[in-house]
Symmetry: C2
């Protein structure tokens, strides 16, 4: 999957569209040399930063990490408290 196709093919469910939510996507398109795989470590730090501004229940955070040869994508989908 190419870098930008990732965003164009993502589709939410009808149920998830009804609630207030926050999505964070970090996409690293790699060049010819491999990068250290830092995205899993980054996940917790991103949530810590976001938590300064928005109330987040950690149980309402869905994490997805996709990788292929040329691209790594970390996606955090957060349903916010009502």
């Amino acid at each position: 999957m190419r870098f930008w196709d990732y965003f164009r093919t993502s589709k939410p469910s009808t149920a998830s569209m009804a609630k207030e939510r926050l999505q964070i996507i970090v996409a690293h398109e790699r060049g010819s040399h491999a990068q250290p795989d830092y995205l899993p470590k980054l996940q917790q730090e991103l949530l810590d930063v976001i938590s300064k501004y928005v109330q987040i229940n950690r149980d309402d955070v869905q994490v997805q990490l996709d990788r292929n040869d040329s691209c790594a994508v970390l996606e955090l989908n957060i349903t916010l408290p009502e």
Copy 2:
């Protein structure tokens, strides 16, 4: 523009695809009550966190902030040093 349409309609230039790059997107879909506008403040903190893992030249960071009634999207596009 609906929340997910943002990702499906984003298209990079051919030139930008050639370099190694990092993209960070924070999308806040608002509910019936308005949220504090924290995305501009968040920008610097996100860059500080990312900088722990990836070398970033601040001159190579493009920032875009889009808002409408129901959604606010912060997008950081970073061209990484070769």
